[in-house]
């Protein structure tokens, strides 16, 4: 029984890291621009599909990874300039609806380019799973954990240690004041979408060997990432990771111990409970921490 619990924990953490990656990108964009980018899941799907196409054309994996991340980052930038920037004076709700439109268009484009087939990418490193006290953990899961850690560290270093990071934080706190001292919030918004494109693509490539990839995988991942971000407290980077991991582990335990049908219901009940009891999320929102 105990190794069964441990196995479910490992599975949950792997799933949770996937959600955490998407929640991280979601929260970063939200912090920087105030826009909830509901096309984030599509970045993940397109990243994975692009990488698979580039990889199978004969490129080595690291090159395929670099090219894909670059391309999807550019895509993020182009979308920001064309759809978000031109509507920057609109209300937050309008901007969110624009991102839903973007998500649907991206999914349509992916359908045209890749069709409805399922694609898979080989695991990054060979070798069988590791066994810890009878519970298996695949090397690819370790890669995903690694990406979460690197992303979290990277975001922390950027915000705390670099000039641009500080500029971005300033414009988060007060857009007008930041503009007065020469920081352009439009550039910040542009950079936020470029980053979330790159982050989404990286996440997609890392999870492709585990989940396999279809043109429409972005929607469900986007929803789970969104739930993770809400549980963690929308606007909190650490909370996003925690929320993602918690969601994954809960899903895994409810599927393994209760029944697989109950999995999604339990997720939604938890989301509702968090919203009712602690609407600022389990860690508390960014704004409250500032005050």
């Amino acid at each position: 029984m105990s190794d069964q619990l441990l196995q479910l924990l490992f599975t949950g953490l792997t799933l949770g890291s996937i959600y955490a990656l998407i929640a991280l990108a979601l929260v970063t964009t939200f912090n920087l621009t105030g826009v909830l980018n509901l096309a984030q899941g599509e970045f993940v799907a397109i990243g994975a599909l692009l990488a698979i196409s580039i990889y199978s054309s004969g490129m080595p994996m690291p090159a395929a990874f670099a090219i894909t991340v670059l391309l999807v980052a550019v895509l993020g930038g182009v979308l920001e300039r064309s759809a978000i920037h031109t509507a920057r004076r609109a209300s937050g709700l309008t901007l969110i609806i624009i991102t839903i439109g973007l998500a649907i268009s991206l999914r349509g484009l992916a359908l045209l380019a890749w069709g409805t087939e399922t694609y898979s990418l080989p695991a990054f490193s060979g070798g069988g799973p590791l066994f810890i006290q009878g519970a298996a953990i695949t090397p690819q899961s370790l890669w995903v954990f690694g990406l979460v850690a690197v992303t979290l560290a990277g975001l922390y270093a950027f915000f705390e240690l670099t000039y641009w990071g500080k500029a971005v934080k300033a414009s988060m706190i007060n857009r007008t004041a930041a503009r007065l001292v020469g920081i352009n919030p439009n550039t910040v918004s542009f950079l936020a979408f470029v980053t979330s494109g790159a982050l989404g693509a990286a996440a997609g490539i890392f999870i492709a060997p585990i989940t396999m990839t279809t043109y429409d995988m972005g929607f469900m991942l986007g929803v789970k990432g969104f739930v993770a971000a809400i549980i963690g407290g929308l606007g909190n980077v650490g909370g996003a990771v925690l929320g993602g991991l918690l969601l994954g582990v809960l899903e895994s335990y409810s599927a393994g111990l209760i029944s697989s049908g109950s999995k999604d219901a339990i997720t939604i009940i938890i989301l509702l409970a968090v919203l009712l009891i602690k609407p600022e999320g389990i860690i508390g929102s960014f704004r409250q921490r500032k005050i």
Partner: protein, 398 residues
């Protein structure tokens, strides 16, 4: 994968060309026959098909569309049915029940003689009501036995794919042969999985095989490790899975990652190359019952189906440059069962249905069909063989 994408766009162009080809050749052969027959030019027989060309089940629908297009071209080139060209209309139901019903209504309005479709169980079930009401013969290519049962409510409905019960009895015989009496059963939560579960649990009980774990998963699930952890902790001597790719492939990968020693037995739902492609080396060792097409080269020459199988493989590879799979085979059977019935009965829906119901000893791709008023599928246990995946290839088990 770039190659496949190019292939895909190539396929789209090919499909477009084919459609044009069918349209123009339809006209052309009309003129031809008019020319040959003088004044009494023979009218085309209209047939409709509803297929999952896009959506979740497109891996089933696309080979069926390709097969039907090839067969209708060949038939018309050879003079059609008694000189009547066949006019085939294929509609895409997008793997959706509602779309399937709309499509079949459109076809019936076009006055088709009979309807072929769908490739999967859900949309096929959805179309039954309409064809029963409109009294149009329908030949489904899906697995669930409830499509043709109870026969009293399925007067106009036939199907070519082996029913769950045929697959189940092959699996049960295999388990008994190996002396395995405790099994875990996992299935996907949809019409296909449910059909398999019902048939398997009933047959297992009859044959004293104990199902020690029963688990289901969603077709969209990305990780089945939680369900498999229960299997690992149980006393199961074998695991039987009822699913189609991609979830079947993910499950197979998870199964190997967990290092579960019990043999893994799948249903015929994984009988296409896509399953092996997605599961990679994890597919090695998987055992399943499957129609003979996949292992046509390995079956003995004495098998009555051998020539038919080889003929289909030659035609298909000649035209599309890749191997046909069992789904294309279901379409082959449906098409020729119908052509045979029309040859016998002429262009009358009720007469075609009666002829279909009395098809005996028809040697097809999925088996030898003996359709009767009590059995609208007509295939028995002999229509399938047990195979094992070895180094990414299907190998016949004896």
């Amino acid at each position: 994968m770039k190659k496949t994408i190019n292939l895909k766009s190539f396929n789209i162009v090919l499909a477009a060309v084919l459609v044009l080809g069918i349209l123009t050749s339809g006209c052309a052969s009309d003129k031809d026959s008019a020319g040959q027959q003088g004044a009494d030019g023979k009218e085309a027989y209209k047939i409709g098909a509803v297929l999952e060309v896009s959506g979740n089940s497109s891996s089933l629908g696309v080979p069926e569309r390709d097969t039907l297009q090839m067969l209708v071209d060949n038939l018309n080139a050879a003079g059609g049915i008694d000189g009547h060209p066949v006019d085939l209309t294929i509609l895409d139901c997008k793997s959706d029940e509602t779309e399937a019903v709309l499509a079949v209504k459109t076809l019936i309005e076009k006055d088709v003689l009979a309807v072929l479709g769908c490739a999967s169980s859900g949309p096929s079930m959805a179309m039954i009501n309409t064809v029963q009401k409109e009294k149009v013969p329908m030949i489904s290519m899906a697995a669930a036995s409830s499509i043709v049962e109870p026969v009293s409510d399925r007067h106009w409905v036939f199907k070519t794919a082996q029913s769950d019960i045929v697959t189940v009895s092959n699996i049960i015989s295999y388990l008994q042969e190996k002396g395995l009496t405790k099994v875990a059963f996992l299935y996907m939560n949809n019409a296909y999985g449910d059909g398999g579960k019902k048939a398997f649990t009933a047959a297992a009980e009859e044959n004293n095989i104990e199902v020690v774990v029963e688990e289901k998963f969603e077709a969209s699930d990305k990780d089945m490790t939680p369900q498999l952890t229960r299997v690992k902790a149980s006393r199961a001597q074998a695991t039987v899975v009822w699913a189609i790719p991609p979830s079947a492939s993910i499950l197979t990968k998870n199964y190997r990652d967990l290092g579960i020693a019990a043999p893994l037995i799948h249903s015929h739902g994984v009988g296409n190359q896509k399953f092996i492609e997605l599961a990679g080396s994890a597919a090695d060792g998987v055992i399943l019952p499957i129609g003979k097409l996949t292992v046509a080269r390995q079956i003995p020459d004495s098998d009555p189906q051998k020539t038919v199988l080889q003929g289909y493989i030659d035609d298909f590879t000649g035209k599309y440059n890749n191997m046909p799979d069992s789904f294309g085979g279901y379409a082959w059977d449906a098409f020729y069962l119908l052509v045979n019935a029309i040859e016998k009965a002429g262009p009358d829906r009720a007469a075609v249905r009666d002829a279909l119901e009395h098809t005996q000893g028809f040697i097809g791709i999925s088996g030898v069909f003996n359709i009767s008023p009590g059995d609208h599928n007509g295939l028995d246990k002999e229509s399938m063989v047990m195979v094992q995946v070895e180094d990414g290839r299907w190998k016949l088990l004896d």
